[in-house]
C-alpha cells in the first residue's frame, strides 16, 4: 500500500490532505472531528482582530443540474476572539500531536502587530504559519489580505517581518487576482518564506437574481464582490501552481488550493509539483467524510502506477508543460468514429460544423418526411447507419472537439497518422527561416 505521509516545508502530517483556512476550520471542535474523519492537517480559519460578518455570505454557480460547481463567499476572517482560537489550537495539538495545525494569520500591516501575532500563535503550539495575503473581499478594503498580496513589495516586507519572529515554517498564501502570480511568489521567496499556498479565491460576482435584479449574495438589497472557489476554479489553480513550480526564482514547496474535490485533482496537483493539498469547498458541500476516498483513491492510484510515496511522482508532469513555441507542428492526429459505438446523436457533427473545421459529415435530414405511428407493437433501437457521421480525415485538423463532446466513451478516437514529417516546433521553424 502506498505511503501517503507528508513532510511539507518541515511540517509533518499523516497524509497530504489539509483543510484550507475557512469555515470548515473555524474552531477546534470542527478540526478534531475532521482529523477523526481522516484529514491530515488543517489551516485554521484566519486569526486576527475579530470582525463582524454579514448575512448572507455565499452564492454559487450551479451547472446542468449540479449544485455548487463554483462557490463565492464574502465572509471575512475569524469572528472569534484571538485568545479563543489560540486556546483551541493548544487543545487540538495536545490531542492530535501528529496532525498538522497551521495558524492562518492576518493583522494590520505593522511590524509589531505581526511580531506579536506570530509569537502568540507559535506559543499556542501551531506547527506552522500561513500568512493570508490573498483574501480578496472586505479585508482588502482595510489594507490587509489581497491588498498586501497584490503588491510584491508589501508581500516581501511583511514576510520579512514575520520571519524575524517566527520559529516555525512560514507559508505565504498567494492571491490569483494579479496578472502574474510568479511576481508575488518571488517576493515571498525573497522575504524568506518557507513555502507557498496557492491559490486564494478569485474575485467574482456569481450572478444576479432575475426576479429582484439584485446580485448574489444579497445583503439587504446590495451585494459585494466575493472570492470564487470550488470545482470551477481548478484549471486556473492548476495553471498557477504549475507556473510557480516551474519558476527557477521561487523554488519553494507549494501547498495547492483550488477546486480539489477528490483524489484525482490531488494527483494532478502533485504531478504539477504540489507538496500538499488544501480543500475547502468540497468539505463545505459534502462534509469531512469525503477525505476517506481522497486518501483511498490516491493510494489506489499510486499502487496501480507503482509509486510507493508522494515524492515518487511529485512534479512528474512539470517537464511536459512547455511554451507553445516548442510544441511539434508536425504531430498529426485525426478523429475516427467507431460506428459500432456511435449512438447517432450527431453532437460531433454540429460541434465540428459550427465550432471547428467542418470536416464531419452526415447524411441529409429526414425531418420533413411524413411519419406515422408504427404498427409494430415494439420498436428496434438500432442506430440507423444514416445517422452515423463520417470524418473527412484529409480536412480534420485533430482539434479534439468532437472527441470532447461525444457522450459515448471510446466512440471517437484521436488517432495519430503518419505524415512522413519529422518533429519541428515553431521555434525551430522560425529560427530556420531568415527574418
Amino acid at each position: 500500500m502506498a505511503d501517503l505521509t507528508t513532510s511539507f516545508a518541515g511540517i509533518h502530517s499523516p497524509n497530504p490532505f489539509w483543510l484550507a483556512s475557512g469555515p470548515p476550520t473555524n474552531c477546534g471542535e470542527q478540526i478534531m472531528r475532521a482529523f477523526d474523519a481522516g484529514w491530515g492537517g488543517a489551516v485554521w480559519k484566519t486569526i486576527g482582530e475579530p470582525i463582524v460578518n454579514v448575512s448572507s455570505r455565499y452564492s454559487s454557480v450551479d451547472w446542468n443540474g449540479n449544485r455548487m460547481m463554483g462557490l463565492n463567499n464574502i465572509e471575512l476572517i475569524s469572528d472569534r476572539p484571538i485568545e479563543t482560537n489560540l486556546r483551541e489550537i493548544y487543545e487540538v495539538k495536545k490531542r492530535y500531536p501528529n496532525h498538522a495545525v497551521i495558524a492562518s494569520l492576518m493583522v494590520e500591516s505593522t511590524r509589531e502587530a505581526w511580531h506579536s501575532m506570530v509569537k502568540r500563535a507559535e506559543d499556542a503550539g501551531a506547527d506552522g504559519l500561513e500568512l493570508n495575503f490573498g483574501c480578496p473581499h472586505g479585508m482588502s478594503e482595510r489594507g490587509m489580505g489581497s491588498a498586501v498580496g497584490q503588491v510584491p513589495e508589501y508581500t516581501r516586507m511583511i514576510t520579512e517581518w514575520v520571519k524575524e519572529a517566527a520559529r516555525t515554517p512560514v507559508l505565504v498564501k498567494l492571491t490569483p487576482n494579479i496578472s502574474d502570480i510568479r511576481v508575488t511568489a518571488r517576493a515571498a521567496t525573497q522575504g524568506g518564506a518557507d513555502g507557498l499556498s496557492a491559490i486564494n479565491t478569485i474575485n467574482s460576482i456569481t450572478g444576479v437574481d432575475l426576479d429582484t435584479l439584485i446580485p448574489r449574495p444579497n445583503v439587504n438589497g446590495h451585494s459585494a464582490h466575493g472570492g470564487y472557489c470550488g470545482p470551477a476554479v481548478k484549471p486556473i489553480a492548476l495553471h498557477m501552481v504549475q507556473q510557480i513550480a516551474s519558476d527557477p526564482q521561487s523554488q519553494l514547496p507549494i501547498s495547492a488550493i483550488g477546486g480539489i474535490s477528490g483524489w484525482r485533482e490531488a494527483a494532478e496537483f502533485i504531478l504539477m509539483g504540489a507538496g500538499c493539498l488544501q480543500a475547502c469547498t468540497a468539505p463545505m458541500h459534502y462534509g469531512y467524510r469525503i477525505v476517506e476516498d481522497m486518501v483511498d483513491g490516491l493510494a489506489s492510484w499510486m499502487d496501480s502506477k507503482g509509486f510507493p510515496t508522494l515524492d515518487d511522482f511529485r512534479g512528474r508532469s512539470l517537464p511536459r508543460v512547455t511554451d507553445w513555441q516548442h510544441l511539434d507542428l508536425n504531430y498529426k492526429i485525426v478523429a475516427r468514429i467507431n460506428p459500432a459505438k456511435c449512438i447517432g446523436c450527431q453532437l460531433c457533427y454540429t460541434a465540428c460544423w459550427d465550432g471547428a473545421h467542418q470536416c464531419i459529415h452526415v447524411s441529409g435530414s429526414d425531418r420533413s418526411a411524413i411519419v406515422s405511428t408504427p404498427t409494430a407493437t415494439a420498436v428496434s433501437h438500432a442506430v440507423p447507419p444514416s445517422r452515423i457521421p463520417r470524418v473527412d480525415e484529409g480536412e480534420c485538423v485533430g482539434c479534439n472537439l468532437c472527441w470532447l463532446v461525444c457522450p459515448v466513451e471510446n466512440c471517437i478516437d484521436m488517432v495519430r497518422v503518419d505524415n512522413g514529417l519529422n518533429s519541428e516546433s515553431w521555434a525551430e521553424r522560425s529560427s530556420r527561416i531568415p527574418a
Binding site: 443540474g65 435530414s365 425531418r367 411524413i370 411519419v371 442506430v383 440507423p384 445517422r387
Partner: protein
C-alpha cells in the same frame, strides 16, 4: 393512478431536461408524426424558459397536451431516443412535454393571433384531433375555420374515447378552448345530413375538411348479441369518462386484441370489477396492442385468454356467459366489444368523386386532398384508426394543402 402517470415536479423536470443530450437533427423529432422539435423544447425547460418550451411544442402540434398524455411514446419519440444505445432509460419526453403544456395552460397561455386575414372559409366536419389541428392551422394562417360535430362536446375521441387515466375530458376541453380562443368557430350538436345538408355546407364554404373518424363498434354477428350487459368499448369508455353510472358487475369479459380492448379492460378494473378477462381470437403474438399497453394491463390484474373466438352469448335478457370454440363457457356479468370500428360509408359515398378503399377515404398524403378537390380528409377516416398524433399531423398537412389549393 400510480406514479407512472403522475406529472413531474419542477425540479424533476429540470433534472430530466438536463439529461437530454441535445442531439442534432434529433431522432426523437424525426420519429414524431408532428415533428415536434423535442430537444429544443426540452432545453428550454432546462434553461427555465418553460413558456417558450410550450410554444415550441404548440408550434408543431396544437394538441401538445393531449399528445403528451396519450402518445405511445415507447414506439415514437422515446423509442427513438439515443439513450437506449447508451443503455440508459430514454429521456421522459412525454412527461417533459406534459410539464411544459400544463405550465402553459395553468398560466393562461394563448395561441398567437393570425397576422393576416385570408378571404376563405373552411368547414371541418368532426371535432376530433384531426379537425382541431386542421382548423387551428387554418386560423393561424388567417382563414376562417368552422367545426361541426354531432356530439355536445368538441374534442372527439380525446373527449369521449381516450382512457380516463390518460386524459380526462376536462383536459381535452382545455385544448378545445385554446383553439376556440384563437378564433376557430364550433357548431356542436349538429349532424351533417340531418341538421345541415352537405350541399349547403359545400355552397357556403371554400373547402371542406373531413375529420369524421370512424363509426360505431362493429358487431360480431353472433347469437345473443342483443342481450343486456353487452356494450361497445367506445360507449363504455365514454360513459365512464363522463361519469355516467356504469354498472358492470364483478366479472367482465372484453373481446378484442387492440389498444381499445386494453383501455376498456383497465377501466373495468378501475370500476372495481374483480375478474376482467380479455378474449382474443388469435395468439398473444398477433395482438395489435402495444407491448407497453399489454404490460400495463397485466399489472392492473387483467387476465388474457388467447385463441378464443366467441361463437354465442348466453343468458335470459342479460348476458350470463360467453361461449367460445374449444373452451368451456365463460361466466360473466358484462361483455365489452372492442373489435374495431365500422366505416362511415353512407356519408362518404354521398360525396361526388370521393374515392374509398375499404371504407377509408383515399387522399394525397402530402395535402390530404381527396378525389373531390374541394374535400380534404385526415385522421381515423383516412388511416383506419391510429393515434391522436397521427390525426394532428394529417390535419395540419391538410390545412396547408387546403390553403395551397385555394391560393
Amino acid at each position: 393512478m400510480t406514479s407512472q402517470y403522475a406529472p413531474l415536479s419542477p425540479q424533476a423536470a429540470l433534472a430530466e431536461a438536463d439529461r437530454c443530450l441535445f442531439c442534432f437533427d434529433a431522432p426523437c423529432a424525426s420519429a414524431c408524426p408532428t415533428h415536434i422539435d423535442v430537444p429544443r423544447f426540452i432545453k428550454k425547460i432546462a434553461s427555465g424558459n418553460v413558456m417558450g418550451s410550450a410554444k415550441a411544442i404548440l408550434d408543431a402540434n396544437v394538441l401538445g397536451l393531449s399528445c403528451s398524455r396519450v402518445c405511445p411514446v415507447d414506439v415514437l419519440c422515446e423509442g427513438a431516443c439515443v439513450m437506449h444505445n447508451l443503455h440508459q432509460r430514454p429521456i421522459a419526453i412525454g412527461k417533459l412535454q406534459r410539464h411544459a403544456m400544463e405550465f402553459f395552460y395553468d398560466v393562461g397561455g394563448a395561441l398567437p393571433q393570425a397576422a393576416v386575414a385570408l378571404p376563405w372559409k373552411v368547414a371541418c366536419i368532426g371535432a376530433g384531433p384531426a379537425s382541431l389541428a386542421c382548423s387551428a392551422e387554418l386560423r393561424a394562417q388567417g382563414a376562417r375555420a368552422i367545426i361541426f360535430d354531432q356530439r355536445p362536446l368538441a374534442g372527439g375521441l380525446n373527449t369521449y374515447g381516450v382512457a380516463q387515466y390518460k386524459l380526462a375530458p376536462e383536459e381535452s376541453g382545455r385544448e378545445v378552448e385554446l383553439i376556440r380562443a384563437a378564433g376557430v368557430e364550433f357548431l356542436t350538436g349538429i349532424e351533417i345530413g340531418k341538421d345541415i345538408l352537405l350541399d349547403d355546407l359545400l355552397r357556403d364554404h371554400d373547402a371542406i375538411f373531413l375529420g369524421i373518424g370512424l363509426g360505431g363498434t362493429q358487431p360480431l354477428g353472433i347469437p345473443g348479441e342483443h342481450l343486456g350487459g353487452i356494450q361497445t368499448a367506445l360507449q363504455f369508455i365514454a360513459d365512464y369518462k363522463n361519469r355516467r353510472p356504469v354498472n358492470i358487475g364483478d366479472r367482465v369479459v372484453v373481446i378484442g386484441g387492440g389498444n381499445t380492448a386494453i383501455d376498456a379492460a383497465i377501466a373495468a378494473r378501475h370500476l372495481d370489477a374483480r375478474d376482467v378477462t380479455i378474449l382474443y381470437r388469435r395468439s398473444e403474438r398477433d395482438m395489435s396492442a402495444f407491448a407497453f399497453e399489454y404490460e400495463h394491463a397485466k399489472r392492473e390484474g387483467v387476465k388474457f385468454m388467447w385463441n378464443a373466438r366467441p361463437v354465442a352469448f348466453h343468458g335470459h335478457n342479460h348476458v350470463g356467459a360467453v361461449e367460445c370454440e374449444y373452451v368451456p363457457l365463460i361466466a360473466c356479468d358484462t361483455v365489452i366489444l372492442a373489435v374495431g370500428q365500422s366505416r362511415l360509408v353512407d356519408l362518404l359515398s354521398s360525396i361526388d368523386g370521393l374515392q374509398l378503399h375499404g371504407g377509408l377515404v383515399k387522399v394525397n398524403p402530402e395535402s390530404g386532398q381527396t378525389g373531390n378537390p374541394k374535400f380534404f380528409a385526415g385522421g381515423d377516416c383516412v388511416n383506419g384508426g391510429r393515434e391522436v398524433v397521427d390525426a394532428v399531423a394529417a390535419g395540419k398537412r391538410a390545412a396547408r394543402g387546403i390553403l395551397q389549393w385555394l391560393t
